[in-house]
Amino acid sequence: MERRTFLKTSALASVGLALSGTAAFAEWKPRRPVSIILPYKAGGGTDSYARAVASASDGLFPVPFVVVNKPGSSGITGAVEASRSRPDGTAVLLTSAGSFLLTSLLRETDVTPLDSFRIVAQIGKLTTSLMVPMNSPYQTLDDLVADIKARPGEVRWAHTGNGGFHHVAGQGFLDSNDLEAVGVPFKGGSATRAALIGEQVDFGMIGIQQAAGFENELRPLALNSDQRDAFMTEVPTFAEAGYDAVDVSSPIIMFAPKDTPDDVVAGLEAAMKEITESEAFINAMAERGNAPVFLPGPEAEANLRAMKDNVSSIIGALKSQG
């Protein structure tokens, strides 16, 4: 029933694009389940995307998607494994590509997102934001900036780990406005949020979706994006608040091993488009405060290359500090 209504809407919605998509589908017929290698532990943010893909693909894709968690080394363990998989569409990598890119720039890694893989499609996006505790004296970004200027090097801010995209975004905001503050890394999003609610720090950079359910504890002051969030619509972007920032976010991208043939990549891309447009997927994401953001492979790749250029100066600064 649900499937039928979906098929109808998707047919209507994508008359033009469907032609190329279904054509590719016809060429590549997956026979074995597709493993989605997820380089993080079960239950995290990126994991929920993979789970939603797997459950929403029922009826839309001829074989099931199987989520395989391969955590370790900030997501590199799983990426290495995926890059060594057979390039026939039986294994793909779904990862937070911003973190993957930054890790590959900051550390010597065996794999990089742009050289070791083919980009299938982007299916979502994690956006970071600047938040303060509810009792904080800072009502706006101006208040915070004034205080950082008054006490250079004394304001403390929390992020989810050095070299992560929250850290780079926060440092980027501070650097581009000539501000000096001390960053304190915590392990992961929930620990960072707890440190912020517990007022261990003055402000924090965490994903905007982390504020869902914590509306009475946290006050987001600015979003690091060129447009406002689909759910937290009242939070201004850095540009709207009047400050420069570095455009770094973390798109959730599906990668295929480098030698995967064109028809397989095209088939997977078309499937991702269908799945991310399905009601089941949209609902699953909305519960977490995320909106699906589908981008075809070439566009996702162009954005990732642009981000690489954007962050190069901060990466240089971080490396020389380290």
């Binding site: 929920s48 391969k70 900051l106 065996d110 949020r193 519960e287």
Partner: protein
């Protein structure tokens, strides 16, 4: 009182009850299999729960966590191979009892203590979820570091005959923990360019290696020697030896109560977990015991203390998880994922939006404790008697095999298997040369969190280490730690002097 309504609704729902009982059994089995931990089992069973009702899914995993912590004691007592890190303290006194043919008695003590600890924790959670969450929130990095510092003292209580070798084992644990990415700067340390090492050494394969493989190697060494049959099964004498009387359990009760509160407190703090709770309770119990000379040689109190503490962690650790989204353990982190997958946002609003579900989950916890308690009390001792009939030359090869499976399955990594094998030889050599595997594992477990919170504190401080003295809670725990170290050092030096006098 919402909990009574929830309890009634859970008890009248056969499907939920079935899941709770299934979880009690699954948890006990995986906990009992050396090396296969409850958190690994939960991670493996997680996909199954996506297709279940939210309450059934959460209750299933929650109760596995509880009974898994208890199940670990079975292997620790019977084979000297703790099923989980949390039961590594239990083997110190549990295995000597088994050797004397009193494994069933040891397991009854473990069961009674585990359920008492678990009930104390669960009731504290139900009564004070808001207060516990508020405490957890106020524990910033300096306070947490002070708690870690105070917890390091327990190494002193497991140190065996040689103090220097015990301390060297602890230092080695810290050193091994340093391998991997620096927690603050994310730089690589001691990785020698190896990609696998950049991920650090994980606890599960290390622990399986040190305790389980180490024990298998020791048994291998003893091959050829006449096999000591330590349970002459099923005669009246053996039965009498394994009957647990009230007079025997009575001295354990103060230890169980103290340990339950130690465990509950440690459960409130994010990141410390059951293994630390068990060792702190063991150390504290030994220090206060009337018969400290018997501890380590098969004192029933030495089983009661750690077992009560490691299960008491379970309840209170749910408070920061549910109200603040801070997972206190790996199991907690997985549970958050389950909430999210079922479309339930954990956080301060949870008790407004999902009050009924949460109290039903707590009620399932209460039922689950009773379930594993009953199965354990009557079942585990039976299983114990049965397993001891299996000759060691069949049993230890099976344990040897499962440790490989367990080391691999935790993360699906061959590197972890290698770590386990190396740690196995390490653990065996440590035993041969009187080094102390328990001290090694405790310091390994504590070092990571201690370093991270220490360095976070320094970053938060305007005046370096002064931050530990300006925050009263942190200062309080530091003083507790220093006082305990001094007291411990004095009693150890007294022991050493007595020993040298005896030698002379």
């Amino acid at each position: 009182m919402e909990i009574f309504a929830a309890l009634a609704s859970v008890l009248s729902d056969p499907i939920i009850l079935m899941w709770v009982f299934a979880a009690a059994i699954v948890g006990m089995v995986v906990g009992a299999i050396p090396g296969l931990t409850a958190s690994a089992a939960i991670a493996m069973l997680l996909p199954v729960t996506f297709y279940m009702q939210p309450l059934a899914a959460l209750a299933f995993l929650y109760v596995i966590g509880k009974s898994g912590r208890y199940g670990g004691s079975i292997a620790a007592i019977l084979f000297n191979t703790p099923g989980t890190a949390a039961s590594a303290a239990t083997q110190i006194d549990g295995y000597p009892l088994s050797k004397r043919g009193m494994s069933s008695k040891a397991m009854k003590v473990a069961t009674l203590s585990s359920i008492t600890g678990d009930y104390v924790g669960e009731i504290l959670l139900i009564a004070g979820v808001g207060i516990i969450a508020a405490i957890a929130l106020k524990m910033g990095p300096p306070e947490l570091f002070a708690v870690y510092f105070a917890a390091f003292v327990v190494i002193g209580s497991v140190i065996g005959k040689s103090i220097t070798r015990g301390l060297a084992s602890a230092a080695l644990g810290v050193l091994i923990k340093m391998v991997g990415l620096d927690p603050i700067s994310s730089e690589e340390r001691f990785t020698f360019g190896s990609f696998d090492l950049s991920n650090g050494i994980s606890l599960v394969p290390l622990m399986i290696g040190i305790f389980v493989l180490g024990e298998v190697f020791s048994q291998l060494e003893a091959r050829g020697k006449p096999i000591e049959q330590f349970d002459d099964p099923d005669n009246d004498d053996a039965r009498a030896r394994n009957r647990l009387t009230w007079a025997e359990y009575k001295p354990c009760i103060p230890h169980v109560i103290r340990s339950s509160f130690i465990g509950s407190f440690i459960g409130m703090l994010p990141g410390l977990g059951s293994a630390i709770a068990a060792f702190v309770a063991y150390g504290e119990g030994k220090r206060r015991a009337k018969n400290p000379e018997e501890w380590g040689k098969g004192a029933l109190e030495g089983i009661a203390a750690p077992e009560a503490a490691n299960n008491a962690v379970s309840g209170p650790s749910m408070a920061p998880l549910l109200t603040l989204g801070i997972p206190g353990s790996i199991i907690g982190a997985i549970l958050i994922g389950v909430f999210l997958i079922h479309g339930i946002q954990v956080g301060p609003t949870l008790f407004l939006t999902q009050k009924e579900l949460i109290y039903q989950l707590f009620a399932c916890g209460l039922v689950g404790i009773a379930a594993y308690g009953l199965i354990g009390y009557y079942g585990a001792s039976f299983v114990g008697r049965f397993i001891l009939k299996i000759p060691t030359d069949v049993l230890y090869p099976v344990i040897f095999l499962t440790s490989f499976v367990a080391a691999y399955s935790a993360r699906g990594s061959m590197f972890d298997v290698l770590i386990m094998v190396i740690a196995g030889f390490g653990g065996w050599l440590m035993k041969c040369y009187d080094f102390n595997p328990a001290a090694f594992v405790i310091s390994f477990v504590l070092a990571g969190g201690a370093e991270e919170t220490f360095r976070q504190s320094l970053l938060l401080s305007d005046h370096g280490a002064l931050i530990f003295f300006t925050r009263p809670v942190a200062l309080g725990f530091l003083i507790v730690g220093v006082v305990a170290v001094v007291a411990r050092a004095r009693s150890l030096s007294k022991q050493a002097k007595e020993a040298s006098l005896n030698d002379a």
